[in-house]
């Protein structure tokens, strides 16, 4: 195991924009740190708060939800509905003593490869600054 602590960050990203944007970053060989694992859903509208809470319960240090820009959702407004839910989840996180910066929602389009790399880099940096999730203790 490496000396430096490697955070565990889950990304849930939509097929049409952010996943495509992440693919584009690859095509353009834009380098970013590897400490993120992505799960693909068709639309961020699919993101059940349960998924996010489950991830934190399992000890995730951060969660990123990324979809299309407003107005660009492949299913009209799934991203909008998801974004509205994020506020709620963030307040729940705060209530259970987690810094709500551990959860982030971003909007990255299919043509924004560089932006995706920037978002991931930034999320990793934020989570690294926050340190390991305090919920990890409860897992044991």
């Amino acid at each position: 195991m490496a000396e430096e602590w490697q955070p565990k960050i889950l990304a849930i990203i939509c097929n049409w924009c952010s996943y495509a944007g992440a693919d584009l970053a690859g095509g353009a060989r834009i380098q970013y740190p590897p400490d993120i694992r992505a799960i693909r859903v068709m639309c961020t509208g699919r993101v059940d708060p349960l998924f996010i809470m489950k991830a934190f319960q399992d000890g995730a240090d951060g969660v990123l939800v990324s979809g299309c820009h407003f107005g660009d959702c492949h299913y009209l407004e799934g991203n909008f509905k998801a974004a509205k839910r994020m506020f709620l989840i963030k307040s729940v996180l705060k209530n259970i003593g987690l810094n709500d910066k551990r959860l982030r929602m971003t909007f990255v389009s299919a043509s924004e490869g560089a932006k995706w790399a920037g978002v991931v880099t930034d999320v990793i940096k934020t989570v690294k600054e926050l340190g390991p999730s305090p919920l990890k203790e409860f897992q044991k």
Partner: protein, 670 residues
């Protein structure tokens, strides 16, 4: 959903040459995969997508009696269809296949971190195996395709696409927001490098459109709403109030032998004078008008914004009774199987580059204005004159890349692709028409990339045009003579130049129009970073989009010249005709299903569904949700919000996603 076989998963790793294997230790991941629960075989190959690579999958399914396949390779957006077919050939349901993206989202973005990339690949495989263990048999739904198409935008791209579709026997709605078809090409005088007259080659096609029985022409009409999906789009059109009835419309209203025949008597008596948009306001039009004599259809239009409703036109029209000054917008719903967007471009507002003085100095014009001024059917009958005094210019400057290849944040970073060539053509035209004229081209690079284009460039050099390699820094006007002082740098001679010119033509950048952006959103098409519509794949699917059944033609996808536009239009027409000719399409079976025993009948999902695919129904004395599969597009928004977890989102079920999350966070080496 019920029968659960014990999962037997096969994992296959692709080297993709060195694309993946260069940054990820494939052997290590392969050995690791074998240790994962449910995995019975783990293999690797140089190129999994090749025939022998796919063969490995097919054989393994039979040999190991697999229930699920994981291929760790490139993006599922690229090869998921390929491996689904391989899974099917092997004898299992194609939806029992799951892909782990270890190229685009791993080896290519962590090229110098083999350890990190390998660890990430292991996690990705573990996550994919967790999902594959829970995948179910799914069956795509086959739906019939409406035998009709829509083409939005009737420039040369839309015209060509409609003609091709129509000639292939497909009824085609050609929708155009302005009163006439023809688009930008009808404004051009000559076309490079052949110098044939633009109108002469376009008008026959326009007439064909008017005559073709399979083309339903809808001018002065906009797309209002798009519903449905490939094969069954339901589109609402807004027919803007034209104020004038066609003979057919008149007949429908019981006016025998009436309707507009394009005689123009109305326009003759109309007292309102406005700038003709087609001529960039360099010529007048009336409040009841046609833009130019070759319009198709040859029907007048009332501009209700400037009409004063004096009624003189109604009188002049007489018994034809074609004019209705009380007309209102009307709506029509059409059903089509596929759609082509061909919404074209508009000029970048070049006055934003204030240093060149467009709009401040009369004798600074755009390339399109030049086209009208040199065109025999234009406002000056083809005599190029200076707007300030009507004199024939003797010294004319052309500023290329005006607002294109501009990284100042004001202009556009991209190359607009046809301005070099039309500027060369402009130089040729004035040299041909005005004896003794001097043409100066200020350029960055001349991009003469097409067939016979470079030869054309040499020809213009031989004809005596002066080429100055450098950007124009500033243009000033002599208030008396209205001549223009052009300051530039000749980067080849490395010295500043300033020249006094009579006329300056800006080869302005092009950009998508705001209306095009509305259409783009209505059809759910993405846009590229530069604002143009995004194709499904830049190289292998340049006509397609990520919305199944919607295709792109012409400049709306990115700047291109006429030959490329027409070629793409033919490509788009051919692609759009395929589902129609096949007669049915298969929809990915990512439908929502209601688990009735869990459903509390709260109806939250019903309101959330963007497609009205869900409804509450009574079943055995209790309210439950019901899905209309044909309307469900599988976004999963209902599933993400159901408080009772009662929605089963096929292929993205809650247990599957939770298993992925658990596999990532709990399953690995802690």
């Amino acid at each position: 959903m019920a029968e659960k076989k014990e999962a037997r998963i096969g994992v296959f790793l692709c080297h993709c040459g060195t694309n993946i294997a260069g940054s990820i230790n494939i052997k290590e991941v392969q050995d690791y995969a074998r240790t994962l629960p449910g995995v019975v075989v783990s293999d690797e190959y140089q190129y999994m997508c090749s025939t022998p690579g796919q063969g490995k999958i097919v054989d393994a399914i039979k040999e190991h009696n697999l229930t699920g396949i994981v291929v760790a390779a490139c993006s599922p957006r690229l090869h998921e269809p390929t491996f689904r077919v391989a899974s099917k050939v092997g004898g299992i349901n194609p939806f029992r296949f799951e892909m782990a993206n270890i190229r685009e989202q791993n080896s290519w973005v962590h090229m110098h971190d083999k350890e990190g990339a390998t660890a990430k690949a292991k996690d990705a495989v573990r996550i994919a195996v967790a999902k594959a263990s829970l995948l179910e048999d799914l069956f795509p739904k086959s739906v019939p395709v409406e035998k009709a198409a829509i083409v939005v935008g009737a420039g040369v791209a839309g015209i060509q696409a409609s003609l091709d579709l129509a000639n292939a026997g497909i009824p085609t709605y050609l929708v155009e927001k302005t009163p006439t078809i023809g688009g930008r090409m009808s404004q051009l005088d000559k076309t490079f490098p052949t110098l044939d007259c633009s109108q002469c080659i376009l008008t026959p096609k326009m007439v064909d459109v008017g005559r073709n029985e399979n083309i339903i022409l809808k001018t002065y009409t906009e797309v209002e709403k798009v519903e449905g999906y490939i094969g069954n789009f339901e589109i609402t059109l807004r027919k803007k109030a034209r104020g004038v009835m066609t003979p057919e419309e008149a007949e429908a209203k019981g006016i025998v032998g009436g309707g507009c025949n394009g005689c123009g008597d109305c326009s003759g008596v109309c007292p309102v004078i406005k700038g003709n948009e087609f001529e960039f306001a360099m010529a007048p039009r009336k409040a009841i008008f046609i833009h130019h004599p070759q319009v198709v259809p040859n029907i007048y239009t009332v501009d209700f914004e400037s009409c004063i409703k004096c009624g003189l036109c109604v009188e002049a029209c007489g018994d034809k009774k074609a004019i209705d000054l009380e007309m209102e917008d009307s709506f029509e719903k059409i059903k089509v199987g596929t759609a082509i967007l061909a919404t074209g471009y508009e000029l970048f507002p070049i006055e934003k580059k204030a240093e060149w003085g467009y709009n401040r100095f009369e004798n600074v014009i755009t390339g399109l204005e030049f086209e009208r001024l040199i065109c025999a059917s234009g406002p000056t009958g083809g005599h190029l004159v200076r707007p300030s005094d009507g004199q024939t210019p003797k010294k004319v400057g052309f500023v290329l890349c005006a607002g294109s290849r501009d990284n100042t944040g004001i202009g556009k970073p991209y190359c607009s692709r046809f301005c070099c060539m039309y500027s060369l053509k402009h130089a040729h035209q004035i040299i041909e028409k005005i004896p003794g004229v001097k043409a100066y081209l200020f350029y960055m690079d001349i991009r003469s990339f097409g067939k016979m284009y470079e030869e054309f460039y040499y020809r213009i050099q031989d004809e005596g045009a002066k080429f100055i390699r450098g950007r124009v820094a500033n243009i000033l006007e002599d208030p008396k003579s209205r001549n223009l002082m052009v300051f530039a740098e000749d980067t080849l001679l490395q010295r500043p130049v300033n020249i006094e010119l009579d006329l300056v033509v800006l080869a302005s950048a092009v950009q998508p129009s705001p209306e095009a952006d509305t259409v783009r959103k209505l059809f759910g098409v993405s846009k590229s970073a530069d604002g143009w519509m995004l194709e499904a794949h830049p190289k292998l699917n340049p006509c397609g989009t990520t919305t199944a059944g919607v295709f792109l033609a012409g400049v709306c996808q990115g700047p291109k010249d006429i030959p490329d536009t027409v070629a793409q239009a033919e490509g788009a027409a051919s692609a759009a005709s395929i589902p129609i000719h096949v007669g049915k399409v298969e929809l990915e079976p990512y439908f929502a299903q209601c688990m009735e025993e869990k459903c509390a009948g709260c109806g939250m999902c019903v309101n959330l569904c963007p497609y009205s695919a869900l409804a509450l129904v009574e079943k055995e004395g209790k309210k439950v949700m019901q899905v209309t599969e044909a309307k469900c597009k599988g976004c999963g928004t209902c599933g993400g919000f159901c408080p009772g977890g009662a929605i089963h989102m096929q292929h993205f079920t809650t247990p599957q996603i939770v298993a992925q999350i658990d596999a990532f966070l709990l399953g690995g080496e802690q």
